[in-house]
């Protein structure tokens, strides 16, 4: 068996906020083409880690590499350009805009034309991007909501819009921060199937979720974070059997 290439590597990454250490010496790799689950009790530092990976925060120690190159000093928009897309724990959509507008905004990097590009060429580009956005919306099963205002939509639908928008930048790596929170079981199953399809298409995914069933079913490997440290990283079944993982969860009374 060949050693799989790691698309994203964290090497001894730490992040402190004042005297609080949110992420502590994390070494972790997301392999190309895999779905890696990231779980851990509340406050374990999962979202901080995602913010570090998407350059919203910079680490106070260690280094993060994407596709073999350090992302130190990178701005979030540069990382997006390099192929990392993400969703947010608390759903950050552009309110009072339609689903199509939101997803089309995600296509920003797809546009090449300048302001002065007029006429046919401009229309062609706009039409092409619009088509791509529409396809993504359909893929996420949102076709009937295409022109609805996202502010008025249900939580589950909003999460799906956010995933569609993240996919719109055609990322190599997709960071999903609790994509099924607040969803019904059928809805989250839907998301599970979608992640499966994405992996089949060659996408690398980092999935943070509390839904153990979803994580077990969709992830190739699972990493467990507790108090900012990685306490286990392995295939799902192995991880659930790990003593430290059980302790971390039972000890803190995870409600999930």
């Amino acid at each position: 068996m060949t050693v799989p290439t790691e698309l994203l590597q964290c090497e001894g990454v730490g992040r402190r906020f004042g005297s609080v250490t949110a992420v502590d010496d994390v070494t972790l790799g997301v392999r190309s083409g895999e779905v890696l689950g990231l779980i851990g009790p509340n406050g374990a530092g999962k979202t901080t880690l995602v913010n570090l990976m998407s350059a919203y925060l910079s680490p106070t120690s260690g280094e993060i590499k994407f596709a073999g190159e350090s992302i130190a000093g990178c701005k979030p928009h540069e990382l997006a350009r390099r192929g990392i897309a993400r969703t947010y724990q608390n759903v950050c959509l552009f309110e009072q805009s339609t689903v199509l507008d939101n997803v089309l905004t995600g296509r920003h990097l797809g546009f090449q034309g300048g302001l002065w590009q007029l006429g046919r060429k401009r229309h062609r580009e706009e039409a092409r991007e619009r088509q791509l956005a529409v396809e993504l919306i359909e893929l996420l099963g949102l076709a009937e909501h295409m022109n609805e205002d996202v502010s008025a939509m249900s939580y589950g639908l909003r999460r799906r819009v956010e995933i569609a928008r993240a996919l719109a930048i055609e990322p190599q790596l997709l960071l999903l921060d609790e994509p099924t929170a607040g969803m019904t079981r059928t809805e989250s199953d839907e998301v599970g199937r979608l992640i499966g399809e994405l992996r089949a298409g060659g996408m690398t995914v980092l999935l943070i979720d509390h839904n153990v069933r979803l994580v077990s079913e969709t992830c190739d490997r699972v990493a467990v974070l507790d108090w900012g440290r990685v306490i286990a990283i392995d295939e799902p079944a192995e991880v659930w059997a790990d003593e430290r993982v059980r302790e971390a969860y039972l000890g803190t009374g995870e409600s999930g």
Binding site: P76, H77, S97, T105, H108, F111, I169
Partner: protein, 289 residues
Amino acid sequence: MFEWIPAYQRFLLDVTLIDIILVISLLILFQCGLFSMATAGFAAIGGYTSALLVTDADWPVPLGILAAVFVGATLAVSFGLPVLRLRGIYLALGSLALAQVIVIGIANVGFTNGVFGISGIPTEVTTGWLVAIVAVILLVMELIHRSHFGRAMKAIRLDEHTAAGLGINVFAYRMATFGIGGAMAAMAGALEAHRTAVISPDQYDFGLLVVLLTYMFVGGVEHWLGPVLATIGFRILNENLEFAGTDWENFYYGSILVVVMLLAPDGLTSRRFTQRLARIFRRRPDLAT
């Protein structure tokens, strides 16, 4: 081209067109989520740059105005570097401090002729020029609005962090709009100087900014049409409020602002307000039946 209009109406038209440029210079920043109050300062820079070059160095008027645009853009970009670190209300008030420094500075240094201002500025700016300039500006605004640039600006305005996550270079956009906004305000200032023939520091005071802000917010910030219509509307209103007499003019102006904000908190052309209007008008026939 517009000589058939009586001079009085033509002057009002010119003033309105210049106001439109100023409002757009404010709006383009706001569309990127920047609430900047430096407009009056850049207008002063533009007015003085052109006025001084034309009167003291005998530059031709068009060249003076171009120089004003250049100086406005340069200053905006160089001030933008530090000032754009500020966010929200801090940017608003920080840029206001910047404008105050510029205007009070102009009033107290020698080469600008201080509080006396500059008079006898050549007035070659015609209504034709202004119409052409405003038309070009509005055309560009519409092009931006319909392109992915406009979408990116809206995304930045609504949520800059998320916009960045989608690959939008927030800083570059803000820098560019700050520069363009500064250039436009400076151009408006220069045009104003060459229209009214006299400039002095006191005209770039807080009051000017307040007027522009109300035009912009009453019109609504989603599309350039709102502020432009509001500017025209307020000009017409201003000319017709005279019936109220000097004493009560401000009272009516103020009450109009309050009432508009109560009816349409996001401006008269905001989707929220137009949709509500549409609902009201749709409901009418129902009531009748």
